[in-house]
């Protein structure tokens, strides 16, 4: 199952890793340019007095990456009617879909961790703990939004009924909005553990779509 998912998505995964890492690298390049032009003191000053976090360009990158992963992984299954065949394997259909989603969640998490390692590796050298941790914690809800976007997009794509798909889309948009309500740096800190659990709790929504698919809803 995992090999099948790997074959299906491997080129997109390469693109996803390269592009998200590229955006993370670009944020660091901007930080490095400001240091080179105005000095490190200026960076500390604007972070302290103007709420600058230098990771703004990453805001919607994990969201788009997660969304596209779901499209690449599940849209061909629906379009070519491959899912029907997959669900005829001698395994529970819930196990099958959970394994497929587990593959995607693992990929998104690995990509997120890689991005955070890239950001931390430079930031911790030039910024105090209070500053670099603030940058990373500001970006964390955006990365959770990427995971949520993947799970919600899969839920919407796997839904067999078009009318219900519109409903799923509407719910998904409002859920995604939760991750982008506040622009204040590190404002989600206290809410992050609950938001993480909430994000993972979006996975079972896909069971509804699969059950409806099995029931033959069109």
């Amino acid at each position: 199952m995992y090999y099948k998912e790997w074959i299906k998505t491997r080129w997109y995964l390469l693109l996803m890793f390269l592009s998200t890492s590229g955006f993370a690298g670009y944020c660091l390049l901007r930080l490095h340019r400001v240091i080179a032009l105005k000095g490190i003191g200026h960076v500390w000053e604007i972070m302290l007095t103007h709420d600058v976090v230098f990771v703004d360009y990453l805001k919607y990158v994990p969201l788009v990456a997660g969304l596209l992963l779901a499209v690449v992984q599940f849209a061909p299954e629906m379009y070519h009617k491959c899912l029907k065949l997959t669900l005829h394997l001698p395994v529970s259909h819930l196990t099958v879909i959970t394994q497929m989603l587990g593959f995607g969640v693992a990929i998104v998490l690995v990509c997120d961790i890689l991005n955070f390692i890239i950001l931390w590796s430079y930031m911790h050298q030039v910024l105090a703990y209070e500053l670099w941790s603030r940058c990373l914690l500001t970006a964390l809800p955006w990365y959770l939004a990427g995971l949520a976007a993947y799970l919600l997009a899969a839920w919407t794509i796997l839904e067999p009924d078009w009318r219900r798909r519109v409903f799923n889309l509407l719910v998904s948009l409002l859920v995604i909005k939760i991750y982008f309500i506040s622009d204040a740096p590190a404002s989600y800190n206290g809410f992050l553990p609950y938001l993480s659990v909430f994000t993972l709790a979006l996975l079972p929504l896909n069971w509804i779509s699969i059950a409806r698919f099995k029931e033959g809803k069109e």
Binding site: G41, L48, N189, I208
Partner: protein
Amino acid sequence: MRKIADFILCFIVLVLLVWQLPWLINFLRTPDSNNTFALYSSLADDFICNQFVGEDKKLHRYGTDGREYSTAETDSLLPCFFMRQLVADGRFPDSIHGRAVTPHEVLQTNISIRLNPRDINGNNIALYPLIESMPKRVDLEWPDDMFRITDTGIEFIKMETNEVKTQKSRLFTEALQEKGFSFPALWVSGNPSVRKAYDEGYLILDAQHRLFHLKRCAGRPFVHEFPIPEGVILTHVFAIEPAARQFRGLAVDTENRLYVLTSDYRIALTGVESFQPVTDRLMILGNMFDWTVSVLDDYAIHHYALDATDYHLIRRLDRTLSDSSLPGLHFTSGDDRFCYPRF
């Protein structure tokens, strides 16, 4: 399994409805207009309140007895607040309350302070630049380091290398300990900016709720403790650097009483009945004769007229606020910079 998934979906839809429906209804409705601005006039011995009335919602000014004042009358009754207008009209008085005044003196002694709960309710960075208070040049200069206060002392971090300056850290830690400072700090307040006339460093509450003033003078630490009256436990302090250096800041205790930290290191109790920094907004517009202190909470606005010399209460005006907005789930609030669900 399907039941669990259905339950999660129902829960999510319910949360989204409780969040978005009240927001939509409140957005479509015209909000109540609460006119909250009032200033005390010592010449009229009354508050002058702004109100937008009539079809065109034009600004009118009334006394608490309902008497309407014209724009020119208001300017004359609030000569310190409308000083520039009176000077432009050639109507600025030579004396106020028998005291000779000049526009420059009024400009120097006027104060305008705003405290918003958003400023303290947030994940603020616990790093502070200690600006040189006695610079060789006229302008203040941003230092090459910032300090943090740990459980055991004060640490200066050199920005260029991101390393702790051990010698300077030890010097300032010992200076604080000599004055009886107990680490860690409960509250640190300063104005980290070089775009100001002078710098007075930081006001710091130590672990025992004792209040200290820390600044850097010619590279050396200056530490002074404020003697706190018995029974008073300060919870919040706000460092303020007014142009005329009349005072050093404001403080609030566990009973929500407001104090002025005077320039001679006294803690003067004001006539403000209650101010909770974590929920209330505070605005002070003051001059050399009196201060108008406005405290805005969820239900009302309280205006206090205080004497500018000893901060005793002269007059008080309370106005309840009308709020017809539909309650619902919110993730953000005007009172803080956190994001989490709350009703």
